[in-house]
């Protein structure tokens, strides 16, 4: 019995050693390394990955769809309209047959690109409370401006302040473009649109000479808006484009 066991152990050791050091292992390893370097989705991604300057997923105002979906909305009792987003029962794809295997699972570059575009395309549908994605500085500046406006006593003071805010707003819009802060861009453009409404309203309450002065000032603002928003319409998601068009439309109407 002892002999049999000894022979079996010897066979095990020999076969184990033989299989552990196959003669062509070095060759295989080299081939494998080469193919890994040359072939596959990874090599395609390298070319197409956005450069850091334009990497959209790095900007704080471009949350991935998943982030958007998971954003809880803080209920604000002061709101006229409250909104809340919930994601219900995401379809579970645990079936292993559906899972990508091997090389394909390394397609994160592709996914982030698609996610960005998807979030852009879906932005009009407001899957999250847009107020939550605004730059706090934007919110702060808005409140400060509103306080100043509320303190203005005469229509002339109001018109004066509004023209100042519009000019400043246009600068902010320009900065939003360069940083791809689309939520801020939409908000600031919407705000500019409202400011234009208010200015036109305030101008109507002014005496003729003052009215003409502010009309001229408004024309200048509208010229700048036209300059800035026209090409802007060509680069933003559709939801933002509409807000920009409304603003341009109001200026267009004012200048007719």
């Amino acid at each position: 019995m002892g002999y049999v066991i000894t022979i079996i152990i010897a066979i095990e050791v020999i076969t184990g050693a033989l299989s552990a050091f196959p003669p062509k292992v070095r060759y295989y390893r080299e081939v494998n390394n080469k193919t890994n370097n040359v072939l596959g989705v990874e090599s395609d991604q390298t070319d197409a990955t956005p450069t850091p300057e334009e990497q959209p997923t790095q900007t704080p105002d471009n949350p991935t769809p998943d982030n958007q979906d998971n954003n809880p909305v803080t209920p604000d009792t002061s709101q006229t309209i409250t909104s809340e987003t919930t994601v219900e029962t995401p379809l579970d794809q645990q079936n292993s047959a559906l899972q990508p295997q091997g090389q394909y699972s390394s397609s994160e570059g592709l996914n982030s690109n698609v996610q960005f575009l998807d979030s852009m395309a879906f932005s009009a549908s407001s899957t999250s409370n847009p107020a939550e994605t605004l730059d706090p500085k934007t919110v702060e500046a808005t409140m400060h401006e509103d306080q100043q406006l509320a303190a203005a006593k005469s229509p002339e003071d109001q018109a004066n302040l509004l023209v100042q805010f519009e000019t400043k707003n246009l600068q902010t819009i320009n900065s939003n473009f360069s940083t791809n802060q689309f939520d801020d861009l939409q908000f600031n453009t919407e705000r500019l649109s409202r400011q234009i409404d208010k200015t036109i309203e305030a101008i109507q309450d002014l005496p003729v000479d003052k009215s003409k002065l502010f009309r001229d000032k408004m024309s200048e603002v509208c010229k700048s808006a036209e300059y800035m928003l026209r090409p802007g319409e060509l680069v933003v998601p559709e939801a933002v484009e509409q807000t920009m068009l409304i603003t341009r439309g109001k200026c267009f109407n004012f200048q007719q």
Partner: protein, 508 residues
């Protein structure tokens, strides 16, 4: 009891010997797959590379399509749709190497795993990233349904309220993985498209305000004209365009409010036949940006007047780049760069090996420098499309000059070995100043011969048909780099033009 021990010992010895046989076989058959190996659940035990190649060709590389379903609607993806190609070399190498690389323990584990049927490898291959991106976004576009806020019943009695409705959103990460993981060996039954239900709960107290606004805004029709042709959005038209959007309250950024809006896509589609008429008379591009501004301006300020949308003057067509070789067409993309669709267009063109001409807006190029640089690096021609995409004949002479010159300077700053030589006026809007300045700046004014009107976001079939029907030698096809419709149609446009024997070239 003794007999039981002998049987057990016998089984043990048999297992040891079997194990050893397997290990020895795998050891001495280095050019074959290990025993028991499976690929996509099909056995490929002990096969040589030649046998494996034949096996993959016959069983796995057949022209099968991947079917995806959502609520019974089937979306079919063919391998050629996303250029899915099996990488034979890599696949064969990996399959033959399986269980023979690494340390002793991992080899033993792998070989045993395979022998007992637990090692199931998958085919290695590659797919085209841009084509897959387009496919995934296209499916998402068809399936996605944004959550609807509550709204008045715009198509019927305004006093009635249509309650909010949950939306559906495709999980594109999972969808991408599903396509990648199954494209080479699609299952017989369709795979369900992974989606999420998106619900929004509203406390819709300002619906009355929206109702009031809607009633005011749609009472009077909106009229515009262009090229002497009138266009009117009637009460019914306006009614059919009304939608409700959620937006941040501009007076309080902490609030979301519901606001009345126009369905932009529907409006663009409504303008399509009008634009076609105007273009057929003027040979210029319909000025859709000003048209939209005029309509939105009137709608949102509740004012009405017939606004005339200026359009370019009809001039003799200049066709540049005419070649005497094989018949050629020129794909041209206006209005870029941007970071939304422009990079995907570049990916598609690279994938298809096509060079095109991009007429870039100067201010956009300043904003998106890397995209501009990549456009040049990919070998495309870039050209001047004004600084702000303004309708030039409306501007003062010095402003026209600045629009053209500053863009030329901006674009030249990206180039090292050549200079900008082409100019395309936005909407084809030209006058004598434009011509004169172009001449003095060394810019050739260049138009197009085929306008696809892709800005109306037509269906892919319609856009492909517009861009590929009745195409003649040296036609210049006008597309834009800021519309998803263009992205979706581009691979098919290229394939169809090539099938007609056209070479796709840049305008130089």
């Amino acid at each position: 009891m003794k007999g039981y021990k002998i049987v057990l010992f016998g089984i043990l010895i048999f297992l040891f010997l079997l194990e050893d046989s397997v290990l020895l076989y795998n050891r001495f058959q280095a050019n074959r797959t290990i025993l028991g190996l499976k690929i996509n659940n099909l056995g490929v035990s002990g096969m040589t590379k030649d046998q494996l190649t034949q096996f993959i060709k016959n069983k796995l590389d057949a022209n099968l399509s991947l079917k995806l379903s959502y609520k019974g609607h089937i979306h079919t993806i063919y391998k050629e749709d996303i250029n899915a190609v099996i990488d034979y070399q890599k696949t064969l190498d990996q399959f033959v190497n399986e269980g023979k690389e690494g340390n002793f323990i991992s080899n033993i584990v792998s070989q045993n795993k395979a022998f007992f049927g637990f090692d199931n490898l998958s085919i290695k291959g590659r797919v085209s990233k841009p084509l897959l991106t387009v496919k995934v976004l296209d499916i998402a576009d068809q399936v996605n349904q944004p959550p609807q806020p509550p709204s008045p019943n715009f198509s019927g009695d305004f006093s009635q309220t249509i309650p909010s409705k949950s939306g559906v959103k495709v999980n594109i990460t999972k969808l991408t993985q599903i396509i990648i993981g199954n494209i080479f060996t699609p299952p017989q039954n369709p795979i369900e498209i992974p989606t999420q239900t998106v619900v929004k709960h509203y406390n819709a107290n300002n619906l009355d305000l929206i109702r009031k606004q809607a009633e005011e805004y749609i009472t009077e029709p909106i009229s515009i004209s262009s090229g002497g042709i009138p266009f009117t959005l009637t009460h019914q038209d306006l009614k059919s365009l009304l939608i409700v959007n959620e937006q941040i309250d501009s007076t309080n950024p902490k609030k979301s409010i519901l606001a009345l809006a126009l369905d932009h896509k529907k409006l663009a589609q409504k303008l399509d036949s009008f634009a076609k008429k105007v273009e057929s008379l003027t040979a210029s591009e319909f000025n859709h940006h000003d048209t939209f501004a005029a309509i939105y301006g009137q709608f949102y300020t509740d004012t009405r007047r017939v606004v005339d949308i200026p359009i370019g003057t009809k001039r003799a067509q200049q066709v540049l780049g005419a070649s005497t070789g094989p018949k050629a067409v020129y794909l041209t993309f206006d209005d870029g760069p941007n970071i939304v669709y422009h990079p995907i267009l570049l990916d598609i063109l690279k994938e298809k090996g096509v060079k095109a001409t991009f007429y870039l807006v100067g201010s956009n190029s300043k904003l998106y420098k890397s995209t501009t640089e990549r456009t040049i690096k990919d070998g495309h021609e870039i050209a001047d499309h004004s600084l702000t995409h303004a309708f030039l004949p409306k501007l003062l002479p010095n402003q026209i000059y600045d629009e053209m010159k500053s863009t030329k300077d901006i674009l030249n700053s990206f180039l090292t070995d050549k200079k900008i030589t082409l100019f395309r006026p936005p909407y084809g809007g030209i006058n004598n100043y434009v011509y004169e300045y172009a001449r003095s700046l060394g810019l050739a004014v260049n138009y197009w011969t085929v306008d696809t009107r892709d800005w109306t976001e037509p269906s892919t079939d319609v856009l492909v048909q517009r861009a590929t029907s009745n195409i003649k030698n040296n036609d210049i096809i006008l597309l834009h780099s800021n519309h998803f419709a263009t992205v979706k149609a581009l691979p098919l446009i290229i394939d169809k033009l090539r099938a007609q024997g056209f070479e796709l070239k840049t305008q130089q």
